[in-house]
C-alpha cells in the first residue's frame, strides 16, 4: 500500500493530486521553486521541500534535487502530474530504480509513445488509420517538397517530440515550406532538444477528439469515452467537453476500439489518452498518445463519476481498476474552460502580477480545480494555467448555460485571465450549436474581439457612474483634483490603448 506520494509538479494538477491523496489517507509531499514557497500546492500538501530557483530547469526539472527530496521525505511513490517530468522515461526509470512506485505507465511505454514516429508505426501495426505523411523524419528539403506534393497542400510541419502547438506550422504553398521547416526545427531544438521534423496532410474542418484509456496490471484495458478538444488557441486547448457534439455512437465505438487496441499494443498501464483527428467526413486518424493524466481529465470524471487519480493509484499498487465489468453508464454532459493568465483579446499575451482579489464560482454542477490563491504572484516562469472550471449538466444545454453562469461569477483583480474570452466563445452560436472544429476559434476571433469591449448602454452608464464614484474616493475635495492629477505614465497609456481598441 502506498503511504506517501511525492508530487513532482506545481499548480492546479499538484493540488488536484493532493486532494485525492488526502481522501485516500495518503500523505502528500510537494516540491517548490523559490517563487512558489507560498503557492497552494505547498500550503495544501502534508510536506513540502524547496528544490531550487524559479526557472523549471533548475527546480521542477532538477532531477538530482528531486531525488534528494524523495529520500528526505521517505516517500514511497511519485506522481509526476502532466508536463515537467511526466513523460520523461529516464526519470521514471530513476524513480523505479530508487525503489519507489512510479504512478504512470512503464518507462518503455513512455519512450515508445513519446516518439511520434514509433507511435505512428505502432498504430499502423494495429491497422489504426494515421494521417498521410512522412513516416521518417525529414532529412532534406527536396524530399519534404516531394512528400508535400504527393499528399497535397496544405500540409502540417510537426516536430517529433512536440505537442501543444510547439514546433508546428501549417504550410499552404511549396514556397513557404523550407522556412517553416527551419523555424519548426529551431523551436523544437529549443523546447525539447530533438530536431526531428515530419510532414503530414492537413485535414478539412478537423476535430481534435481524444479517448481516455485506462489499463491495469491484470491486463484489463478500457476506454472511458471521448473528449472533444477542438476549441484551441495557439494550438493549445482552451475548452473541452464530453460527449463530443460532433460524433455519433458508431464513430465513438470505432475510436474507443482503436484506442484500446493501441493501448494494448504498447503494453500500457495506468491512465493514457489517445488523440485523434476527425475530419468533416468523419474520417479519423490516430494523432498521438499522451502517456500521462491529461489536463482535461475532469470532464471524463464528471460524467463517469470515477476519480481517475484514485484509479491511477490502484494501478500503481497492482490492484484491478474499479470500473464496473460491463458498461460505464456515463451520465449527462461536462464542459471545461481553462482559466489562463492571459489576455484573449490581445494575442493571448500572458499576464503576470499579483492576484489582489479572487472569488471563485460555486453552486450546483460546478467544479473548480484551482492552482492559485488570493495574494499570489503570477510569475512568467511557468505555464499560465491558473485553474480549470468544469460544469456538469443533465444535458449539453444545461452544462453550457451553467458554464456561462459560473464564468460570470469569477472575480479576479490584479491579472488578466481567459475568463472574458471563454465567456464569449461559450456564448457564441458556433459553440452553442455544437457545430465547431479546430479552425472555428480562428474564424470567429475578430467577432469575439469586437464583443470583448462592447457594453450595453446600461452597463456603460454603470461603468461611468462607478468610475465617478471611484474618482470621488481619490479626491474628496473635487476642486483640488485636476491640479493634482498625475502625469500619465507611459506604461499606463499602453494599458489604456489596449483597453480602448
Amino acid at each position: 500500500m502506498i503511504q506517501k506520494i511525492l508530487i513532482t509538479n506545481r499548480g492546479e494538477i499538484a493540488v488536484r493530486i493532493i486532494r485525492t491523496c488526502r481522501e485516500q489517507g495518503i500523505k502528500s509531499v510537494a516540491v517548490f521553486s523559490d517563487v512558489d514557497r507560498t503557492a497552494p500546492h505547498v500550503l495544501k500538501a502534508d510536506e513540502a521541500y524547496p528544490i531550487g530557483p524559479a526557472p523549471s530547469a533548475e527546480s521542477y526539472l532538477n532531477v538530482s534535487r528531486i531525488l534528494e527530496v524523495m529520500q528526505a521525505s521517505a516517500a514511497d511513490a511519485v506522481h509526476p502530474g502532466y508536463g515537467f517530468l511526466s513523460e520523461n522515461a529516464e526519470f521514471a526509470e530513476t524513480v523505479i530504480r530508487a525503489g519507489l512506485k512510479w504512478i504512470g505507465p512503464s518507462p518503455d511505454a513512455i519512450r515508445l509513445m513519446g516518439d511520434k514516429m514509433a507511435a505512428r508505426n505502432l498504430a499502423a501495426s494495429v491497422k489504426a488509420p494515421v494521417v498521410p505523411g512522412t513516416t521518417e523524419p525529414i532529412s532534406d528539403i527536396r524530399t519534404a517538397l516531394e512528400t508535400a506534393d504527393e499528399i497535397g497542400f496544405p500540409v502540417l510541419v510537426k516536430a517529433a517530440g512536440g505537442g501543444g502547438g510547439k514546433g508546428m506550422r501549417i504550410v499552404s504553398r511549396a514556397g513557404d515550406l523550407e522556412a517553416a521547416v527551419n523555424r519548426a526545427r529551431s523551436e523544437a531544438v529549443k523546447a525539447f532538444s530533438d530536431d526531428r521534423i515530419y510532414i503530414e496532410k492537413y485535414l478539412e474542418e478537423p476535430h481534435h477528439i481524444e479517448i481516455q484509456v485506462f489499463a491495469d496490471t491484470q491486463g484489463r484495458v478500457i476506454s472511458l469515452g471521448e473528449r472533444e478538444c477542438s476549441i484551441q488557441r495557439r494550438y493549445q486547448k482552451i475548452i473541452e467537453e464530453t460527449p463530443s457534439p460532433f460524433i455519433d455512437d458508431q464513430l465513438r465505438r470505432k475510436l474507443s476500439d482503436t484506442a484500446v487496441e493501441i493501448t494494448r499494443a504498447c503494453r500500457y498501464t495506468g491512465a493514457g489518452t489517445v488523440e485523434f483527428l476527425v475530419d468533416k467526413y468523419k474520417n479519423y486518424y490516430f494523432l498521438e498518445m499522451n502517456t500521462r493524466l491529461q489536463v482535461e481529465h475532469p470532464v471524463t470524471e464528471m460524467v463517469i463519476g470515477f476519480d481517475l487519480v484514485k484509479e491511477q493509484l490502484n494501478v500503481a499498487e497492482g490492484k484491478p481498476l474499479s470500473f464496473p465489468d460491463k458498461h460505464l453508464h456515463p451520465r449527462g454532459h461536462a464542459v471545461e474552460c481553462r482559466i489562463y493568465a492571459e489576455n484573449g483579446f490581445n494575442n493571448f499575451a500572458p499576464s503576470i502580477g499579483k492576484i489582489l482579489e479572487l472569488d471563485f464560482p460555486q453552486g450546483p454542477g460546478v467544479r473548480l480545480d484551482e492552482g492559485v490563491r488570493a495574494g499570489q504572484e503570477i510569475t512568467p516562469y511557468y505555464d499560465p494555467l491558473l485553474g480549470k472550471l468544469i460544469t456538469w449538466g443533465q444535458d449539453r444545454s444545461e452544462a453550457v448555460e451553467r458554464m456561462l453562469r459560473a464564468l460570470q461569477e469569477f472575480h479576479v483583480v490584479g491579472i488578466e485571465t481567459s475568463i472574458p474570452y471563454c465567456l464569449l466563445i461559450i456564448g457564441h452560436e458556433s459553440f452553442r450549436s455544437g457545430n465547431y472544429c479546430t479552425k472555428t476559434l480562428e474564424e470567429i476571433g475578430s467577432t469575439l474581439e469586437e464583443q470583448g469591449t462592447s457594453l450595453s448602454a446600461e452597463a456603460a452608464i454603470a461603468a461611468a457612474v462607478g468610475a465617478i464614484r471611484r474618482d470621488l474616493i481619490n479626491t474628496p475635495a473635487p476642486a483640488a483634483r485636476t491640479l493634482e492629477r498625475p502625469q500619465n505614465s507611459p506604461w499606463s497609456m499602453q494599458g489604456r490603448k489596449d483597453g480602448l481598441r
Binding site: 505555464d383 460570470q408 472575480h411 452608464i461 457612474v465 485636476t482 506604461w491 497609456m493
Partner: protein, 168 residues
C-alpha cells in the same frame, strides 16, 4: 458638479451631488436612483434604478479600468474644472507618451523587425518577446517614425522596460 465620462468614443455627462447619500446623479436631465457601495479595495456594488451591478474598478493611468459583466473598459472621468481646462486647451497632451513602447512582462527579445529611422504604420510588427515559453508579438500602437531602439536581440528585459520610441 458636472462630470464628463469617456468610454471609447462614447461620452456621457452626469450632474453629481456628492454630498447626499446615496450620491445624487443626473444623466440627460433625468435623476438616476443610484446607490454605490465599496465592497473591497477594488470592488463596488452599484444599484441603478433597482438594477444590480458588480463592478471592479482599478486605476489605470489617467482613468479607471472598469469591469462589468466580465467586460473591461477604460473610463476617463473629468470634473467641471477638467472640462474647462480642456476647453482652453490646457490639459496635458499625452501624444508624446503614446510612441514609447514598453513591455508589460519580463522576457527575452527574440526578434526585432524594425530599425531606427523606419517609417512605422499603426499595427505594424515591431518585435517578438519570448515569455512563459511563448512568442509574443508586439505591434505599434501608432503611426510615425522609429526614433530609437534601446535593446538588442537576445536581451533579457524586465517588466516596464522601454524598448523603442516612435515619433508621431
Amino acid at each position: 458638479m458636472k462630470y464628463l465620462t469617456t468610454i471609447g468614443s462614447a461620452k456621457l455627462e452626469f450632474e453629481v451631488t456628492p454630498d447626499t447619500k446615496p450620491i445624487g446623479v443626473k444623466l440627460l436631465e433625468q435623476a438616476v436612483n443610484m446607490d454605490c457601495r465599496q465592497l473591497s479595495p477594488n470592488s463596488f456594488s452599484l444599484l441603478i434604478d433597482g438594477k444590480s451591478y458588480f463592478l471592479t474598478i482599478t486605476e489605470n493611468g489617467g482613468g479607471f479600468a472598469v469591469t462589468v459583466n466580465q467586460k473591461t473598459v477604460d473610463v476617463f472621468v473629468q470634473d467641471e474644472t477638467g472640462i474647462l481646462l480642456d476647453k482652453f486647451g490646457m490639459s496635458d497632451s499625452s501624444s508624446d507618451t503614446l510612441g514609447k513602447i514598453i513591455v508589460p512582462i519580463p522576457g527575452l527579445i527574440a526578434k526585432l523587425f524594425v530599425s531606427p529611422g523606419d517609417t512605422i504604420e499603426k499595427d505594424q510588427k515591431l518585435f517578438i518577446l519570448e515569455a512563459m515559453k511563448m512568442e509574443n508579438e508586439f505591434t505599434s500602437p501608432v503611426s510615425g517614425t522609429l526614433s530609437s531602439i534601446h535593446v538588442k536581440k537576445g536581451d533579457t528585459v524586465n517588466k516596464g522596460t522601454l524598448i523603442m520610441e516612435i515619433t508621431i
